[in-house]
């Protein structure tokens, strides 16, 4: 069986004060290989926690995660992660960063060099191979992070607000790049975002989560990612359905946020 199964996962953080936070409660989800899913939700609803559990950085207090038939017990090269920022190694050049995964596996130099060159070409960093990380702009650094993840050829790519720190224009270019790479490589991708537009554009499936306890609120199947593969993203955004969905989801998240505010105020 190929694909990712999140089976009845719960996560509860016990606090030193004696109380606890129920970050996730009974979350179940199935992803086929090659699916692209975006995750939206108000702040604190457990998105990062869910991703960390799938990545294997956290052990859930209930349920399990199964990838391609075997249970996830820790981090592994089969599940790559792209962080929001700060995960690149400053002491390595751009190329060494991208080569890191294959090098750890012991891939021969020539082979991993070829992989890195190809991915840097695709991500438009061909001229920056030997630059240091701190010499790159934020958008370029995120492309390096993407290339580094792809160089390792994982089955699943997990992204936690990978474009969150970028300006609008760079962000739009990167969204196009993510779609292109998804289509070319056929990876399973989970992408967390705070932008409703980004979630609509970059999700065949869109998961909306609700807080306290963190759980799945609704799920959508969307056509826009497929459209965006061969079309300009701005054209996709003009699609009448796109606007409709956006309004629908925005008001849903607003409602949730207001409910949280009300609850904290009354508490």
């Amino acid at each position: 069986m190929t694909g990712l199964t999140i089976d009845d996962v719960s996560m509860r953080f016990d606090l030193p004060s004696g109380s606890f936070v129920q970050a996730l409660k009974n979350v179940s989800l199935d992803l086929r290989a090659g699916e692209l899913m975006s995750v939206l939700g108000p702040s604190g609803c457990g998105k990062t926690t869910l991703l960390n559990i799938v990545a294997g950085f956290l052990a859930p207090t209930g349920g399990e995660v199964v990838l391609n038939g075997h249970r996830v017990t820790g981090p592994d090269a089969e599940r790559g992660m792209v962080f929001q920022q700060g995960a690149l190694f400053e002491w390595m050049s751009v190329r060494e960063n991208v080569e890191f995964g294959p090098r750890m596996k012991g891939t021969p130099v020539a082979e991993r060099r070829a992989t890195a060159d190809r991915l840097l070409q695709i991500t438009g960093l061909g001229d920056f191979k030997d630059k240091a990380i701190y010499e790159l702009s934020g958008g370029m650094q995120q492309r390096v992070a993407l290339a580094r993840c792809l160089a390792n050829d994982p089955d699943v790519i997990l992204m936690d607000e990978p474009l969150g720190a970028l300006d609008a224009l760079t962000r739009e270019k990167m969204q196009g790049l993510v779609l292109k790479l998804w289509k070319e490589t056929g990876k399973t991708i989970i992408l967390i975002t705070h932008s409703v537009e980004e979630a609509l554009l970059l999700g065949e499936r869109l998961l909306v989560m609700a807080p306290r306890p963190g759980r799945i609120h609704r799920e959508y199947r969307l056509p826009f990612a497929e459209m965006g593969v061969n079309q300009d993203l701005r054209e996709v955004k003009k699609h009448p359905d796109f606007g409709k969905r956006r309004e629908e989801i925005l008001s849903m998240i607003w409602e949730m946020e207001e409910e949280i505010m009300g609850r904290t105020e009354s508490a």
Binding site: A55, A87, E90, W91, I133, Y134
Partner: protein, 420 residues
């Protein structure tokens, strides 16, 4: 008095040079990024050292040094001590109440020279003239009434001014104080210049350097003194780093190590290495072992704490990223944790080197046969202030040189420091 004049002069030179350079460079604007900033006050990055100020600052120190020591390298001097022949008159009164005047002739000569004795004619009346030889900066007791004729002659005035025990009277080139027993204590004017034993002139320091560089100090060549001090620092620091860095890593990575060594490290950190000197001497003796152990201890805690901070400072997302890329624990240590800790370790190494250099000099002051610290303490016992000053300057230059080398190495090895 001299100190106050020196301070005022220094402040005046500071302000004067600032105004002059400001005037000279007015109109010449900088054409770089800083020039485009409208807000520079409070913007630390807009403050770069004024190079002219640095050069003038060093020149001013040499000028003042030379001017206050009568150096021949410097064109202007503050007034030096009086030398040459001078005299003052005194009035003596005998038992009968008669008064008579006589002169005391003085020959003031630079210290170390042996000029011919000064002679004085006895003169008229019952008060007789006197003569005295005085070295510059010194004072001399003159029993002016001793050679006067008659019983119970006492001095009642100097230069026409009444004098009594404890009273001081000035004459043209100095002053005279009467002691409780009626002698005259004569001090020729000292001027504002420093005596060689207080502050040697620049050329005597250079001469001391040349002399010691060619003839050695206490039968040991200068380079050997320097080499011994440096070698102690390097060996002590190297052993301290070789033990301290792994210890710091272990403390950063393992809870048992952390728990075990935390109390020791936290206790030893605030103990200044100098406070350990007596104990180290008792345990290891005063020779090389003792000094190396002392420097080892000086470097050990600093390096352990730096390495621990380097490990603790690793951004957890970097470690997570490495795990997700398939790295093993050993690979993460080798490729993530160690490189990530290098900036902290370099900072620690710079601090440790500075502390070791200071400690070695102090340890050599206490006991050593070779080394710059030993050189200056031995010189001070012979009152060779020029050698002391030369040693201090060498110590400063070498310490500064070590720090510059460390910074160069840092720029080269951890170029990403402070830029992530």
């Amino acid at each position: 008095m001299t100190g106050l004049i020196l301070l005022l002069l220094y402040v005046a030179l500071f302000v004067g040079a600032m105004l002059l350079v400001g005037l000279a460079t007015r109109g010449r604007k900088r054409r770089d990024f800083t020039a485009l900033k409208t807000v520079t006050f409070g913007d630390e990055s807009a403050v770069r050292p004024n190079r002219a100020a640095s050069v003038i600052s060093v020149v001013v120190i040499f000028l003042l040094w030379g001017a206050f020591t009568g150096s021949s390298l410097v064109p202007v001097h503050v007034p030096g001590p009086f030398t040459g022949d001078t005299s003052f008159t005194y009035t003596a009164r005998n038992a009968g109440g008669a008064e008579d005047e006589a002169t005391v002739f003085l020959r003031v000569f630079p210290l170390g020279e042996q000029p011919p004795e000064i002679e004085a004619e006895p003169g008229e009346g019952f008060a007789r003239n006197d003569a005295a030889m005085i070295a510059a900066y010194r004072s001399e007791l003159v029993r002016a009434d001793r050679n006067d004729e008659g019983e119970d002659v006492e001095v009642v005035a100097v230069e026409g001014q009444p004098i009594a025990p404890g009273v001081t009277v000035a004459f043209a080139d100095g002053e005279v104080t009467m002691t409780p027993r009626g002698s005259l204590n004569v001090s020729p004017a000292r001027g504002l210049q420093m005596e060689e034993i207080w502050l040697p002139s620049p050329e005597s320091v250079v001469a001391a350097l040349v002399d010691i560089a060619t003839n050695g100090f206490q039968n040991v060549p200068l380079w050997e003194h320097l080499f011994y001090s440096l070698m102690r620092v390097l060996v002590g620091f190297a052993i301290g780093a070789a033990v301290g860095i792994p210890l710091g890593y272990a403390m950063g990575l393992n809870d048992w190590f952390r728990g075990w060594f935390d109390p020791i490290v936290e206790f030893m950190r605030p103990v200044p290495p100098l406070a350990l000197i007596p104990l180290v001497i008792i345990w290891f003796g005063i020779w090389e072992t003792g000094k190396i152990v002392l420097l080892f201890l000086a470097a050990l805690w600093i390096m352990a704490i730096a390495a621990r901070a380097g490990v603790s400072g690793v951004n957890i997302t970097k470690v997570h990223a490495a795990y997700s890329l398939g790295a093993s624990k050993a690979q993460i240590l080798r490729h993530v944790i160690i490189p990530n800790s290098l900036p902290e370790i370099f900072t620690g190494a710079r601090v440790a080197m500075g502390v070791c250099w200071g400690t070695v000099v102090a340890a050599e002051l206490v006991a050593a046969q070779k080394g710059v610290g030993m050189m200056i303490i031995a010189a001070s016992k012979f009152q060779s202030t020029d050698v002391v000053l030369m040693g201090i300057i060498l110590i400063g230059i070498i310490g500064f040189g070590i720090d510059i080398l460390m910074r160069k190495a840092e720029n080269w090895l951890v170029p990403w420091k402070g830029r992530s």
